[in-house]
């Protein structure tokens, strides 16, 4: 789609039948099992990261945190005091994988960040590859532990603790942030009608508020602000973290934190594909002010909770319309201005339209494509079969198990969902980076020259060449032509010395 994008997913982790676990310890142990020999090379370079830096041109003084987490962090200090020598790097356990991805412990969750892709179906394959890689880690760890490690690609524990699945898009810095915010925010509010992963129960940060109420999304209950730099508490619909991981003079990274983790390949492709097209429209300044929604914070929850599936919203001009028609406004612009740019673009446009039509006609037509519809069908079938009430906590467990990434046990994997990629593509993505982005340079450098790599960041690699640190700055590799040049140089280089010579870096 001629744009770099990627997905970062924090997984839920627990042990079978365990009443309590230490998720930090289990996440670290899980990631150690990426390799059979548990070898861990701390190669991630944290110097370039600054989650306080705000797109609006300032640096935040502090980041909000969930009250429970403030308590947990105090306990962490005691836990880590009992394990002297556990360094920050060991806690993070950051690994760079040969497919260009990043696998690490993000606070208390194993996180898989896909390599940067510019092909939608590559991205879906890499998202699924993340599931398979983590499941392999879980199986190794389970064997060592004598207890099964369970991993969930979801976004809540039903006790008010949410964790994220972020979709990221590189875009032009020249787009004024205010315009970006006012154009993408309404889209994010109504995107959930096809991108939501479904949830039984309504939560607040204090815990489960209304059991038994089926809603479209895992995450809508946790969004309270239109725009801010926060990600852990008082979450914003538009996150303003300014970390482009590319040339900051040319690029922004839209860090989309409002979405759910999707199990469905189709839903993942539609979520990212439609968002990428809307960003294209935003870059061309084609989104009118009239797309804005009157009260986005309430509306995102109202849509998610709506049992009628009419999803009525109020626009800023007072006009009422359905979320389906609101999405159609974005779709019509995309059809007018972006049709036939590529087969992939046309796939997104066709499926976007078909999905909106099906949602209007009968959402259950999408049982084999959208997560929230598949989950609703599953729950309805179970309620009917077992004669239980909708507030029975068994349904909450059914909801959770929908997201279990174990192919044998996970309920999603018992469904006959439509595939848009093959198992072979997923398997290839476990070991191979996308061939047409800078992720190839990262992944293949690691594959060819691991012993000579000192540190890695999204946009740089530092090699150790005869005791001297030589950094390849990958800032400019967001440009596909430059990425191609670098990737070709890497293919032709027998060692790092030859590579930096070919790139003219020494």
């Amino acid at each position: 789609m001629y744009r770099l994008f990627g997905i970062e997913t924090e997984y839920g982790i627990t042990l079978e039948n365990a009443e309590q676990i230490d998720p930090v310890k289990e996440s670290i142990e899980l990631i150690k099992h990426y390799q059979c020999d548990h070898k861990f090379l701390p190669q991630w370079d944290y110097d370039g990261e600054d989650p306080f830096k705000d797109e609006r041109g300032f640096r935040a003084k502090h980041l909000n945190n969930h009250p429970d987490e403030i308590e947990e962090e105090e306990k962490d200090k005691e836990r880590f005091a009992e394990q002297p020598g556990r360094s920050f790097r060991e806690i993070k356990s950051d690994r760079i994988l040969i497919n260009g991805a990043r696998l690490y412990n993000d606070h208390a969750h194993p996180e898989y960040s896909t390599p940067e892709c510019q092909n939608l179906f590559d991205l879906v394959a890499h998202d699924k590859a993340g599931e398979r890689i983590l499941q392999e880690c879980a199986e190794r760890r389970s064997e060592e532990l004598g207890q099964r490690v369970l991993l969930y690609k979801n976004n809540t524990d039903f006790y008010g603790h949410s964790y994220g699945c972020h979709d990221n898009y590189l875009m032009a810095r020249e787009v004024p942030f205010d315009y970006l915010k006012s154009s993408i925010l309404p889209f994010f509010v109504t995107r959930q009608i096809f991108a939501g992963a479904g949830k039984i129960g309504i939560e607040t940060e204090a815990g489960l508020a209304t059991p038994g109420h089926f809603q479209l999304t895992q995450r809508a209950d946790f969004f309270h602000v239109e725009a801010s730099v926060d990600t852990m508490h008082k979450r914003p619909i538009v996150n303003t973290r300014d970390e482009p991981h590319a040339d900051p003079a040319k690029y922004r990274r839209l860090h989309g934190i409002v979405g759910d983790a999707n199990m469905s390949e189709y839903a993942t492709a539609l979520k990212v594909g439609t968002t990428a097209l809307v960003i294209e429209l935003i870059e061309q300044r084609l989104i009118p002010k009239s797309f804005a929604i009157a009260n986005p914070i309430d509306t995102i929850k109202i849509i998610s909770h709506d049992q009628t599936y009419r999803w009525m919203i109020q626009k800023v001009d007072g006009k009422m319309m359905s979320a389906i028609d609101h999405q159609r406004e974005y779709l019509a612009l995309a059809q007018k201005h972006l049709a036939h740019l590529s087969d992939e673009t046309d796939w997104v446009l066709t499926e976007w339209e078909e999905t909106l039509n099906a949602l209007e006609d009968d959402p259950m037509r999408l049982t084999d494509r959208l997560d929230w519809v598949a989950k609703k069908w599953l729950l309805e079938t179970f309620v009917e079969s077992e004669g239980i009430e909708w507030d029975d906590l068994w349904l909450q467990s059914i909801d959770l198990e929908y997201h279990n990434i174990n192919l044998e046990d996970g309920l999603f994997y018992g469904l006959q969902m439509q595939r848009i990629i093959s198992d072979e593509q997923v398997h290839t993505a476990m070991h191979t980076p996308p061939l047409d982005t800078r992720a190839y340079f990262r992944g293949k450098s690691l594959n060819k020259f691991e012993d000579s790599i000192r540190t890695v960041q999204w946009d740089s690699i530092t090699f150790d060449i005869e005791g001297k640190a030589v950094t390849v700055n990958m800032n400019s590799l967001a440009n596909p032509e430059i990425a191609q040049k670098y990737n070709e140089a890497l293919d032709l280089s027998p060692n790092p010395q030859a590579l930096v010579e070919k790139l003219g870096l020494n």
Binding site: N17, D106, S162, S385, W394, Q425, H431, L435
Partner: protein
């Protein structure tokens, strides 16, 4: 993974061709939309009945991003 044979295919600048369930060999670089599948209800019910009723009660996580 390191314990498996790792190979890189020849690098191509064109994206890999997406999966085409009904591939008739044309040039379309996007997946087809197959017919709507209906899940096998009996097998699914068996899988769902195996789910531990208490699993979500025990499932406690820490807040993430």
């Amino acid at each position: 993974m390191k314990d498996q044979i790792v190979y890189y295919p020849e690098r191509k600048q064109k994206p890999a061709k997406p999966f085409e369930p009904d591939d008739g060999g044309d040039d379309n670089n996007a997946p087809k939309r197959p017919d709507v599948n209906r899940p096998d209800t009996q097998e699914l019910l068996k899988r769902m009945r195996r789910v531990d009723k208490d699993q979500s009660r025990r499932y406690r996580q820490r807040t993430g991003e």
